[in-house]
Amino acid sequence: MNFRHVAADFRVVMRSYLRNPVALFFSLIFPIILIALFGLIFSATGSGPVTVEVLNLDHNSPVSREFLAALNNTSVVKVNVVSDTTVSPSNFASWLGKNDDPVGLIVPDGFAANYRNGTPTNLTVFTNPSDAASSGTVLGAVQGVANGFNLARACSGSVCAPVIGYTSENVGSQVYTYIDYLIPGLIGFSILTSPMFSMVDIASSYRKDGIFRELSLTPLTRAEWLLSRITWYVALTFVTAGIMIGAGVYLFSAHVALTLGLVPFLIVGPFFFVSLGMLAGTVAKTPESAALIGNIITFPMMFLSGTFFTVSSFPPYLQTFAHVLPLYYVIDGMNQVMLFANMSRALADLAVVLVAGLVVFALAVRLFKWRDE
């Protein structure tokens, strides 16, 4: 291994890349687009209160107003009282259906009187089955407020404070939102995709254009050549990760811990995927089959390694599958260092990727040939 050779080849790779406007655009702008897009999609649902359209048939009685105010105070729902002159109980459901966020609540006539008398009375909640998240939020909030009212009524006269209370906190050492989990996932996404797609392409096009033949006539070795590519993609990954973290912080006020623990993953990740891309491109006989093999390897990892969705939310058999995907360990490791400060698990993840990387690197150097037999 001669590092002057690696450095000389690295300069060629870097210049080729920087002089290619399309490649440059994708590596600099694409990370921002990814963060912005997924940040917007996933923060639209989940965070922020769900609006509930309320039809109050109890003539604005003080108890019903108190109930709705308590509901509003949960901060997970936003109560919007609709006038009973525009909608009636019979067409409320169809009216809701025409809304953007069809979630509704009917407070029945005699709600306050029944509450005072201890007569059971029913609230009606309308939810949208296709939007499980907001339905669950509204049902939970209504149930919680109703329980509070029931308890208050049962205890009226005597003193009975709630025994079990709770305060809400997020996992990890800080308050995290979805975007904080998204950043390690999307960094992993670019560690996977940019080397895989371009190495598979390079492996076949360099062979076709005779570039490998040309290089075989120089003292550059295949290991040096591959190392120079890896170095380039490590550099690119640092830039991409920096852009993504910056975009996440700037656009969505993400809170990520910028620890040195991230650095090994930004090195070992590209090391593995550049080698894997080269290996895939080498075993393929034609550019078409190279692209196919590349896609077969890339696509499952793109979605099932914790890039956009956390693996723990998968059904068990998919979780098992995710655990054989190398990208899972890259992303999990970055989650551990950036969010949970769980260094021992991060180290285990790192070890898995490093060993896999060494194996794939050795195989790629062994199998790929400069020259025809």
Partner: protein
């Protein structure tokens, strides 16, 4: 295999390339069908042959880029396939369809090779030698076909090679650029380097090569200096005049020589120089109109076309003089 070393006496020049019984099979196709030749160090050897004859296959076997099926090959005393790494430091190669990194400039390409080979050539000086200095900062994808070939030649020279393998280096070049490459080849020879040159331009081989070999369907059909090949395979020197067919008939009756008519020109073979006066006398004596007298001899190209044509026609249908 090593036997010839003991049998051959030490000559004034050692062989840079030795090939014995070289065979290359692609499945059923025998691209090279058992050829022998040797190239003395410091000489220019030209490999000629029609498309698909096996030139590039042979060249790439010598360069260590392809594996031979059988036969003995030594380049600078090394086996090109197994000692490729050692050989590649000592040879320079420009492949038939030279391509390089698209976005890299000529200067950067030479600097890259210079770093890989640990030499200290000056890119400007090298590019000036191949007349490409004006494109020193142009990217490869903006160069014309001929300029790319020139850059390939410059790169082949970055490691100060003992042998240069040039596979059709002048194909697609304009006449001026071709002469520039010829000058480079001559200077390579002047510096004591060996040049292995394939080309389709026979005048180029005739001008530059000390020795040529003509390969056809994987077999060498003629080898030697250009003059030797012409002497062995060409027709004798002729006297040619423009004139009517009746002139040919007249000359056939009055001279004991083969006479041919081609494209309105009548030609008579010369047995020796003193024939010339006798033939001219007979032409004048015929009283028929004649014009534009010249003597002609076969060029390497004439011989090449005839030899390859004969092989393709089954070697039977020979051009017989009338």
């Amino acid at each position: 295999m090593r036997l010839h070393i003991f049998l051959s006496y030490p000559g004034p020049v050692s062989a840079a390339i030795e090939v014995h019984g070289l065979v290359k099979q692609y499945g059923n196709l025998s691209a090279v069908g058992g050829i022998d030749f040797s190239v003395p160090a410091g000489t220019v050897f030209s490999f000629l042959g029609p498309n698909g004859a096996g030139k590039t296959t042979t060249t790439e076997i010598l360069e260590g880029l392809r594996r031979r099926t059988s036969g003995d090959v030594e380049v600078l005393g090394l086996d090109p396939w197994t000692d490729g790494a050692a050989l590649h430091r000592r040879i320079g190669v420009i492949p038939q369809d030279f391509r390089f990194f698209e976005k890299i400039t000529a200067r950067e390409a030479i600097e890259y090779y210079r770093a890989l080979f640990h030499t200290d050539v000056d890119p400007a000086r090298l590019l000036a030698q191949v007349e490409l200095l004006d494109k020193i900062d142009a990217r490869f994808d903006t160069l014309s076909g001929g300029q790319k070939q020139k850059l390939g030649l410059a790169l082949a020279l970055t490691n100060n090679p003992e042998i240069c393998f040039l596979d059709e280096p002048t194909t697609g070049l304009d006449p001026h650029a071709r002469r520039a490459i010829w000058a480079v080849i001559r200077s390579l020879k002047g510096e004591g380097r060996t040049v292995f040159l394939t080309t389709h331009y026979l005048e180029e081989a005739e001008l530059l090569a000390d020795r040529v070999a003509i390969i056809h369907h994987g077999k060498i059909i003629a080898a030697g200096t250009p003059a030797e090949i012409i002497r062995a395979n060409g027709r004798p020197e002729r006297i040619e005049v423009a004139g009517p067919p009746e002139l040919a008939t007249y000359l056939e009756q009055h001279l004991d020589r083969p006479v041919a008519v081609e494209n309105g020109r009548v030609s008579v073979e010369l047995a020796d120089k003193s024939d010339a006066l006798k033939i001219l006398g007979a032409i004048e004596a015929s009283g028929l109109p004649w014009d534009s007298f010249q003597t002609s001899r076969d060029t390497l190209e004439d011989v090449f076309v005839r030899l390859v044509g004969q092989m393709d026609d089954g070697a039977l249908k020979q051009e017989t003089p009338r």
